[in-house]
Amino acid sequence: MKTRSLTRRAFLGGTAVATAGASMRVAAATASAVAPPSFGPDPVPIRLNVNGHDVALRVEPRSTLAETLRGALGLTGTKIACNRGACGACTVWLDGVAVCSCTILAIDVGEGAVTTIEGLAPGGELHPVQAAFVQHDAVQCGFCTPGMIMSAACLLQHAADPSGDDVRSAISGHICRCGTYPHVVEATLAAAKVRP
């Protein structure tokens, strides 16, 4: 993983990692400590790598990654439901690690590679986790679904043969009010058998 400067919000981002996936709480805590520069309040230029594309944009320093993805970049598949890292709806990958994008400032992402639900399976083919979510009806209202899929797919990147408990642990930072958890576990285990 690339080294990024540690700011207070990036440290909070590390907390978000723990929320999104208990088994992957390594992201920011290992970054080296450097005094943060000060920005704002006016928009500042940044570059982001999102779904394999480099984009240049201007954001207010207070903009979270979730707000930036949804607003400036129009990637509205990432949802904001609690906006404080408690529900997992905003989960994206940062350098392949599932994180809550609502607790990371866009200016703190640096050179990290961001993957959103739109980038999970570019080219129209569904990722096996997405296909399994449809097949097993692991979707009701669907608002928690993109985040849930990002955590489930992240687990499959790292675990060869996950158990039901592994799946429950990987999605334990997500809240689904419709109660899709049983079908999400079923779908993720089924997807693990047909991994990409």
Partner: protein, 782 residues
Amino acid sequence: METRQARFPRGIAGVGLDEVEREVPADEAPPLAPNAALAVIGKPVARHNGRAKVTGAIRYTADVQLPGMLHARILRSPLAHARIRAIDARDAEAHPGVRAVLRVAEPGTTSGTVRHVGAAVAAVAATSTAAAADAAGRIRVDYEPLPFVTTLDDARAADAPRVFDEASAPAGNPAGFPAPAGLPLRGNVRGPGRDQRGDAAEALKHAAIVVDGEYRTQVQTHCCLEPHGIVADWREDGLTVYMSTQFTAGVRHEIAEAFALPLARVRVVVDGMGGGFGSKSSLGNYGRIAIALSRAARAPVRLVLERHEEQMDAGNRPGTWQRLRIGANRDGSLAAISVVSFGTAGIALGAGIGNMAQALYTCANFESAQHDVFTNAGPGCAMRGPGNVPGGWALEQAIDELAHRLALDPLALRDRIDPSPVRREERRIGAERIGWGRRHAPGANRGPDGGPIRRGIGVAQSLWGANVQTNAACEVRVMRDGSVEVVSSVQDIGTGVTTVLAQVVAEVLGLAPEQITVRIGDTEFPEGPPSYGSRTTASITPAARNAAWLVLQTLLREASATLETAPSMLVARDGHIARLDEPARRIPLREVAAKLRTDRISAVASRGDDYTGFKRRMGDAALAQQDLGGVQFAEVAVDTETGVIRVERVVAVQDCGRPINPLQIESQVQGGVLMGMSFALYEDRLLDPATGRMVNPDLEHYKVAGPREAPRIDVVVLENYQGNSATDAYGIAEPANIATAPAIANAVYNAIGVRLRDSPMTPAAVLAALGRAPAAGHRESP
């Protein structure tokens, strides 16, 4: 009206099916066979908008972005009760990003008093959410604090601060679960609303056994993952509103009335809808605010609530206190049921405990007195199974207690007092699935190691009226290229009605469900039903089937010349129109469509009456003759040292008439069970009595069941045919939510031999009940 006689399947599939003759309108589709004989209905068809949901492509209200769109924020009261002396918005108006400022509270008028923390005071529309929030923060409000009261018990006291006076108190509850109107107001207490049959007081005096208990349920919040949201686009030629709503058509009517617009100039649209559970049934204050801001700013305005606003001012399930007495004879038959309830929906009405005690069991003598208590707290509204969730919590525990007192098996007691043949079957199936025979006497299942864990099994039942919206229409179109469209303003809030509509129409036209395009959630289309009261499928599927059947008649007439037989001798099957007598002689449906004189043929149908009539009618809504219900069994492990209850397994046996998509029904039942479990064990809206503020207005301290708490859930859905409509389908959402909490409570009693009558059953409450920790004393919530 022209009618004809037709024979319909009746009974429970796999148990006993016969036929019943009904008189049906001549323009309705012929009787539908049981699911086993159908091609598409009753099959686990994958969710139609599943792909759009798993790719993030589906557009929710929160995702709508319009050119020139402004962003709104609401300034909310920090005080639980205050008179507003003045609002100074000059600094907000001077903010460079601000385009409109709205005073929601007007000093010196009735709206100038705020009655709960989080009540809207003013609102701002600006070029960004951040600018709107900054500007809202610059509005200066001069509050005169008033005394307030936040708990049910305190508010009932004679000297309690008054939330309302006679003039300002709401009399009915237009925004949520209907509350009886015209009831007296004494202090903060409105009511009682009374129901009675026989003489319960007299019968209780003579009953052989009386169980008498007091029960409390907490305030639960809806916690829809998608917050309440609206994008209002006011233009000279009309208003378009994108809204996360359970009822596009109803919101359209509300807007037309509130803003004096003709219906034809108001359009309400929703595509993806991120959950409502009752809280998104009407336009709401926030909806009116966004529209007023759009009108003032002459630009589209987006208002999406933040989570703390959701928790404080977007509805909740009212908290309740009940005293329930049941008198029984030695043989278990019920002599009398008496219930007194006090509930609080904060500043709103609708905190009744429903009709389960009145309607579930055979009992000649019944009385109820239900009261609404006003408190300085956010308004309650309907929430999944309103009334019957707290009502069932008490009733089904009391029946369990009665069985224990009578030394009867709780299932045997219900066999005696429950007249429903459907629930009898559900009890039998569920008992077998859960292994009811493994059940120990209360507190006796200590496990082989003699450790602190006790296990138990419990059962409870649910009851819910089979609601139907008679004003529910749907249009089916067949285009010249053979493509098929179903359109209605009905909305898919996650229950899957999109898929259900495709299945119903595909079955009629002999197509695959993927070949049907479903466009809904838009009031440009015929007016569909709301998605509340478990009525959507019951209301819209007969209309869809009848519309498709009418269109099919045109196609059959078109094909009859080529196939050289009468239309009545033709059938639509496998994408073709075929002769019944010579199935090999057939034409593809798209070739028949190609011969149409016009670009399309279409038919609109609306929901007719149930063939046996309705029990009751209330405007556009009606209540079917039969009820819906279900029986749920729970198995729990209770750690008697920590007090933690773990639900290990739930078996849910439900009925919803004809099940149309068993996969989606299973999803919805699992959701009902999980919401019920979450209510039983975790959720609690906590208000600070010193300030009236909610101390857990978020999703980390307001605890909702997560993936690790989810038990194994077995879902069994009966096919219960009654021959009452063109699809015979009814609802599932609410009946699946009602029995879970009391089933868990009864399982906890079976595990530890002590009954917990207050929800949620927290570890502290369990330890107190076991005498292992000091009793928490009087609970401050609700």
